[in-house]
């Protein structure tokens, strides 16, 4: 599903060279893979490169076998819109929209008719157990509920790959665990591929595959 081939992306941080260097990895379909490592190890940088939010200095990102990192900005936008889903540490729901409208947003940006978008968004919210809160705005939802809405938003367009950056970092254990269980279920039941950046042991424990990073380099890979 996702292949990163000798990916390098370097930048200056506090006068030192940081980033990721020559990383190669592969995430198969329906797999929940975790990029693990301490802060500054390059997890988020790699996630952003895999999510086409940034362009590697060297190497290639392949999605479904197709080389995508060299595509023009418009094509990358289109791929993100139709093939990728994102879940952020700070949830990042649009505050002026309700949970339902947030989930409908990527569908409507794709040009899906409002009625169909509503049906699909309601189904996605149902799947994450948030139907009863669908008309609430993000400010009226708890952290766990917001992250569930964010997952529903990422899943509603039926993406090939969902990228999650520290999805449990803003949640306590009581909310983080069920959220990871949900992602594992989605991967197993619906074949959704997840690439998660996290240093949370609870997340790593649930992963099908763990890629360990240190100082921007891949230092280990574990399969369960």
């Amino acid at each position: 599903m996702l292949q990163l081939e000798r990916i390098t992306r370097a930048y200056e941080l506090g006068g030192e060279r940081a980033g990721v260097f020559g990383v190669t990895l592969e995430v198969p379909k329906g797999c929940l893979a975790v990029l693990a490592g301490p802060s500054g190890s390059g997890k988020t940088t790699l996630l952003q490169l895999a999510g086409l939010l940034d362009v590697p200095d060297e190497g290639e990102v392949r999605l479904g076998g197709e080389a995508v990192s060299g595509l023009a900005e418009q094509a990358r936008c289109d791929l993100r819109l139709r093939r990728l889903g994102f879940v952020f540490q700070a949830f990042n729901l649009v505050p002026v929209l309700s949970a339902l409208e947030n989930v409908m947003l990527p569908l409507q940006l794709q040009g899906v008719a409002e009625g169909e978008a509503r049906t699909r968004a309601e189904a996605a919210l149902e799947r994450v157990g948030l139907s009863d809160r669908r008309h609430h705005r993000p400010g009226q939802l708890s952290g766990g509920q917001q992250q569930r809405a964010a997952i529903a938003r990422a899943l509603a367009p039926d993406p090939l790959l969902v990228l999650a950056d520290e999805p449990t970092a803003s949640l306590d254990h009581a909310h983080g665990g069920p959220l990871m269980d949900l992602m594992v279920e989605l991967a197993q039941e619906r074949g959704v591929t997840f690439l998660v950046a996290s240093h949370d042991p609870a997340v790593i424990a649930r992963a099908h595959r763990v890629f360990r990073l240190a100082d921007g380099r891949l230092v280990g890979e574990e399969r369960t």
Partner: protein, 414 residues
Amino acid sequence: MILARLALRNLLRQRRRTALTLMVIVAGFLALSLAGGFMAQTFQGLSDAAIRGGLGHLQVLPPGALEGDEAQSLEKALPDGEALAARLRQDPAVAEVLPRIQFMGLLSSGPKSVAFLGTAVDPALEPRFMATAEAMEGGAKAPGGAGSRWLAADPAAREVLLGTGLARALGASVGSSLTLMSTTRDGALNAVDVDVVGLQDLGLRELNDRFLTVSLATADQLLDAAQARSRLSVVLRRPQSTAAEQARFQTLLPGTSVKPWFELASFYRQVKLLYFAIFGFLGLVLFLVVLLATANTLLMSVMERVREFGVLRAMGLQPRQLLKLLQWEGAFLGLLGSALGLAATLLLRAGLNALHLVMPAPPGTSHGYELNIHFVPLVYFIVALGLQATLQVSALFPGIKAARLRIVEALRHV
């Protein structure tokens, strides 16, 4: 439509800021629309004054009448003016033709003599189409003007109406007997005794000091005019077709010069230019204020939503769609501001007009006028259009800034 909905929600998110921005737009709309209504009143007043002051909608003149020294005698005249007038009256576009003679000479009262500029008119037709008779309302209130009346239609009557300044210079009043002296078409000196039947306040001091009005019959006797007339004032049935009729009549009447009123009313043209310059500058300043205020609002809104824009871009929103989102916000501000501005304009206009405020006399004129700000939908439309364009321009820079955000940096923004 999702972008439009997002834009509207974003405006509602910062209600106080949006309200302040709307107030700036409303103030701009209000100022420009009221100024436009005031200008329309002024232009209407001046055009009425010019048309009904004797020009009519069209003037038929002898060729070259406006070149060189403007002749105040029948030296340059339409030799068959009355016949030409009769012919023109047959035209279906013409409501009436008013022949006029313009002349000059000396007006004597005993040992006193004053130079005058005279106009001879048809006493029967003139009050029906021109405001000359209305000028007597002011004249009747002037010293010596009591009992003022219009010229008698009787061709045998030898009567004169004097400008208030001219009457004062001669010590004349209604009932005084004076002598008009001028030269005939042949150049001979001639004089006619006339009775003062009224005084006129023509609105301009310079005119009041020199101007008098007599009947065409009186002028005919004084100048030996016969059929000759200085000019014909043509009143059209459809004033809005003045320009088209001018071209047609010019073709129909070779050997004459046909001019529309607005080419001859130099005061009207000068005031119009002045107003356009003054209110144009005022408009420019107001548009600039609106531009800066709204650009500031939208830019602040962008700076507060950097992370949100990063998320939208990560989700696949194209840079041009972010530009469009900001354009929608500008569009809503403009539409709402113009709608509120229009409502405020109509309310304030009604209030101001109801007060019957009297404006001071404009420079060079002798009396003020009541403020009556006109209802001018075209002005409202143009102001709304201008403001809308300003809003779209003001949304451009914040939109470009948003569109140029690097996603990874925007997502890190705190």
